[in-house]
Amino acid sequence: MAERPEQGGHAALIVAPAPHVGIPGSTAGMTWSVVGALAPAAAWGIFMFGAAAVFVLVVSVGTAVLAELLCCLVSGRMTLSDGSAVLTGLVIGLLLSAGCPLYVPAAAAAFAILVVKQSFGGLGRNWMNPALAGVVFAQLSWGASMARWLPARGVAESGGLPPLDALRAAFSTTGWSGRTPLAVLASSGYTFSGLDATVVQWVNAHVLSIVGVSLRPGFFDLLVGHVTGAIGTICVPLLVLGAVALLRRGVMRWQVPVAFLSSFVVLAFLFGGLSTGQGWFAGGAGFQLFSGSLVLTAFFAATDPVTSPLGLRGRWVYGIGLGVLAFVMRFYGSLGDGIPVALVMGNCFVPLIDRATPRRQPENARKGVA
């Protein structure tokens, strides 16, 4: 490499094929920025669940990194710096309850890295999202341990269940005894925080009374993530914040999450009430949207380019398909909140979608390129 100009020419110029310029970012940089975008939601989870959440996250990220390191030693290729192992570990941890035994994150992360990712050839070659496949693996293996919830800070009196699980429990014991999911929860004795009561009361009295509507108790807790649930999933606004930052930087594309969430919401609104005997147009779509791992999965797992279709049309098909699968698995499935298994099922269809949505024949071809 030429370090300084020499007289009469420049020694050893670099010769490389064109182009000699490129976009500023890199794949590794993109992965690390996704890790960064998840940090606020992770911090909220740690704040709400305390040290237990830290343990789960440390074990899941640590196991993922160790597993990746093991594969690096075997293959002789150092791939830790691409950030994908840390991201996988982080997503797994965020999708778990802070109360679950620590062998769950360890096993899920090890399965994700060793089986789902590296045995298929590492980053870019896995056909399932490693993190979500790891979570599904854990759900199938230790379903009961994974449902061991830790009550969030300030909402201990709720019985320690996430709203979605509490709704299921209420439905199985007392039936659908209200108009909306929050009303059912309220009538089943599920309590929300004092802050929620204050805020909802104030908004109802001072803002919404003007237009003659009112919010249910619990609305505020659900909105800001002041509820029990998986560590990283409870605070939807922080997840959306991270996603918007990635969208603005061009790291993430909007088509899949938009198609995913909107098809899910539409289906939940139309048919969500059927399974509870509420009939049509009574699915409590808003409650469903803010519950469980839906938002985190839609923005941070469904957008994983490795396990998404290549083309734009394929991405729309994939997103809508994920919404359908998520609806079916949440309302009629038996595996947790149904979202991780829906995503992993969606991954299985990606090669098929790629095949079924070929590139249209370009106009340039017709114009007789010499």
Binding site: A16, H20, S26, G124, R359, P362, K367
Partner: protein, 435 residues
């Protein structure tokens, strides 16, 4: 008369530092003391050497004669003595003899006011003869002998003639500066081309980064009462590519009856026909971070590119890579001794940091290359097919449409050399019989 067109699909916006070189007038580079003039500076057969070591040559004298139907004359760019006929490997890998001329003697043409010769009374054949004699080739980089392009077969009609003034790369401003400084000459050349081709429709295509040229040319064309439409195209790379310009300007008709010439070539046609001057110099954009004063230089063919750096105020730091052409598809040279040829549209210099090869990551199927490709290819898929050696499938999926524009590799966040591998695959494919 003037209208804008929506962009072709795909493309990228590579960094553009041309605002400096755009603002300055074309400067004459110093006459080199030694000119290294390759005899293959065009598409087709190399010119036949007609001088011997020791011969004295005048400025603009023929030193290589066109050899065969597709070839072009080569002239000495300086007066002096032939010191050597050297066989050199050109940056694109071609090997050809080069005439090395040492400066000496008297300048017969330079420094004297140019005298315009009337050409209106000449026949088409005579005008073509003048263009051929001057060794004019496509100066946008395509290097096809211009007299072949402008020769219309008897009975054939040309439906569209396009003067392409859209920069091949927004960072290269040579065409823009030429258009701004020489409107009368360009309009004259347009008139010559219209005379030769008798096209149904004539278009001057300009880039959207050159809006100030529109009013200049509207006026120049009106004063010359020349029927020519101005079309403004988005200057997003690679909009200046001939096929994309024709695709945007044309009305969907067949391109077989279209002729497109770069504006640099038009100026060379003007010089050949009106001034009787052979093609011995061209405008070169010299730019890049280590260049202190990027600008457009009028450079004699055969000047070694290292000498151009001094013309631009010297270097502000170490050099890592020197590229002839543009940053998107130019060739990196091994040495600054490489000579400027008829095809040298620009010289782009990179510092050691910009020149380093970036870490390559695995393909994550992000689809950026697909969005960037102006030719509707799936570069990542073609790359994998070529790496597997399956060139037949790659061709079925459109490999032959790849023009090497470099957009896919530019856009790839994993820094995979997609464009280079695709071009490799194409040249391999051409060498093996079709199966």
């Amino acid at each position: 008369m003037t209208y804008s067109q929506s962009p072709s699909k795909g493309g990228v916006n590579p960094p553009d530092d041309s605002f400096v070189s755009r603002s300055l007038r074309i400067a004459n580079a110093a006459v080199p003391s030694l000119a290294v003039i390759p005899l293959l500076q065009h598409v087709g057969a190399a010119a036949r050497c007609v001088v011997q070591p020791g011969d004295h040559v005048r400025e603009g004298m023929l030193i290589g004669a066109a050899d065969g139907p597709i070839s072009a004359n080569v002239h000495s760019s300086i007066p002096g003595r032939v010191v050597e006929i050297r066989t050199l490997r050109l940056p694109d890998g071609a090997i050809c003899p080069s005439v090395v001329v040492e400066l000496g003697g008297e300048f017969e043409a330079s420094g004297k006011p140019p005298k315009e010769l009337p050409w209106e009374n000449l026949s088409r054949q005579d005008v073509l003869q003048k263009i051929q004699a001057a060794g004019v080739v496509g100066l946008g980089g395509e290097l096809f002998p211009t007299h072949v392009k402008l020769a219309v077969a008897p009975g054939a009609t040309v439906s569209l003639f396009v003067a392409n003034g859209v920069d091949s790369d927004p960072a290269l401003s040579a065409d823009f500066v030429l258009l701004r400084e020489k409107p009368l000459q360009i309009v004259q050349a347009l008139r010559i081309c219209k005379f030769l081709l008798a096209p149904t429709r004539t278009v001057l295509a300009l880039g959207s980064n050159a809006e100030e040229l529109v009013s200049i040319y509207e006026r120049a064309l009106r004063e010359a009462s020349l029927d020519c439409q101005i079309v403004v195209l988005p200057s997003r790379y690679p909009q200046g590519h001939e096929q994309l310009v024709l695709g945007s300007v044309g009305d969907g008709g067949t391109q077989t009856s279209s002729v497109i010439l770069n504006v640099g070539t038009l100026y060379a046609i003007y010089e050949a026909v009106v001034l009787g001057k052979p093609l011995i110099e061209r405008i070169v954009t010299v730019t890049g971070a280590p260049i202190k004063g990027p600008r457009n230089l009028k450079v004699r063919i055969g000047t070694r590119i290292g000498e151009l750096f001094e013309e631009c105020g010297g270097l502000s730091g170490p050099v890592g890579k020197v590229v002839i052409g543009n940053a998107m598809r130019g060739l990196a040279v091994e040495s600054t001794e490489t000579a400027v040829t008829k095809g040298t549209t620009g010289v782009v210099v990179f510092g050691p940091r910009e020149a380093r090869t970036r870490t390559e990551w695995p393909c994550i199927r992000c689809g950026s290359c697909i969005e960037a490709c102006p030719w509707d290819l799936v570069p990542t898929r073609l790359y994998k097919l070529i790496k597997q050696g399956d060139l037949v499938t790659a061709e079925k999926e459109g490999l032959s449409r790849c023009t090497g524009c470099g957009c896919c590799a530019y856009a790839c966040p994993s820094h995979i050399p997609l464009a280079a591998v695709l071009q490799d695959g194409m040249s391999t494919r051409r060498q093996v019989p079709r199966g």
